[in-house]
Symmetry: C2
Subunit: 219 residues, 2 copies
């Protein structure tokens, strides 16, 4: 199995990075190939726009999605975009690994999606979405850490249900392009935990990974 | 009234940019002061991290939120961050103006929130959230355009309910810092519309703006 982890945390000592490392080790030990895009380390540029393309089909009126289709058909994506697309195409399992910032992914990861899930490549121009999506043979899930404690993200939590919060990622990004979207793994509030409690989260994550074949898609 | 529009579209001929211009004209005509942060035009850097700060309190272990609090207390935000904070502080009405990309804001706008809604400045360190939030005297709303048609975003639409999709923005960003979050204005699928239909959307937006004092917060 090929595993592709897109990781978005600025600090290598963070708990989010630890969880990324746990997954790398686990899948390597199991004899899988693991590729990581460490977006902060790569200084990935998240701003989608004309810099995605070697050449534009319409220089007078920039229509992002149409330029994506044109670039897909004519091999005009810039190197940075193409490289990520190639890593993504090879993956059987895709992990978005990030701290929850403002109920969503950090901008650097949002921009990875904006630029890499290009129209023509990931959907549209003859490709379907959701169950007819181009990548229905891939599995994907989010591995995230939060600032607030678990109770704040329950059905009656002050932040509201985590399922609702993550809908735009799980449904709108991962499932939209057809991927079998597995339940997220959440490390709640690591900054407020003891080492022992953090170790428990790590053990829980190892168990989640061990059972990866048994998790059912959430949509 | 001071109006602050944060605009995130790479093309000045886009319908999203037209809606931004409509709001600028309308509020100017009414004698209000309007400030626009046109993030693409500004080449705004959306990557939150150590570049937000003139100096770090802990160079060994970068904890973003703690550095934000430290920077707030010691006037250590870099110019780019401080400038946006100052515009934001002056605003009575804040408009996020953007195309819906992947069920969310474009990365360049997500990064504006990541960097500007800093801990210490916008919440935390003695400041509350939601109804006790620091900015409860401000109103805010999203003005967005979509790719898909309106039916795709209904309760039974294939993309699911727009309310759920926008929850992470309306609740998790705007309301989180205390702002009175007004209903979003949505220009559905302008690329598939005729000029006449697009003009109808513009008229609808003008009406929305004219009634700005009557919209009730959605939370």
């Amino acid at each position: 199995m090929n595993v592709f982890i897109i990781h978005a945390h600025p600090e290598e000592k963070s708990f989010s990075t630890t969880l990324k490392n746990i997954a790398v080790e686990y899948f390597n030990e199991q004899g899988n190939e693991v590729v990581v895009s460490d977006l902060y380390a790569m200084k990935f540029n998240p701003v989608g726009g004309s810099n995605d393309f070697e050449e534009l089909s319409n220089k007078e009126f920039f229509k992002y999605q149409l330029e994506q289709v044109n670039a897909f058909n004519n091999n005009l994506f810039t190197h940075e975009v193409k490289q990520e697309m190639e890593k993504f195409l090879k993956a059987d399992l895709v992990i978005l690994n990030f701290p929850l910032w403002w109920f969503s992914v950090p901008a650097i990861l949002k921009g990875w999606v904006d630029r890499i899930f290009a129209m023509g490549f990931a959907y549209g121009a003859g490709k379907g979405v959701y169950d007819s999506g181009a990548f229905k043979n891939k599995k994907a899930f989010c591995c995230l850490t939060t600032g607030g404690p678990e109770a704040a993200y329950g059905s009656n939590g002050k932040n509201g249900n985590l399922e609702t919060i993550l809908y735009h990622i799980n449904h709108g990004m991962l499932y939209f392009v057809g991927m079998q979207t597995l339940p997220p793994f959440v490390g709640f509030s690591p900054a407020r935990k003891t080492d022992e409690e953090r170790n428990e989260v790590i053990e829980k994550y190892k168990l989640y990974l061990k059972n990866i074949g048994n998790h059912q898609p959430i949509f």
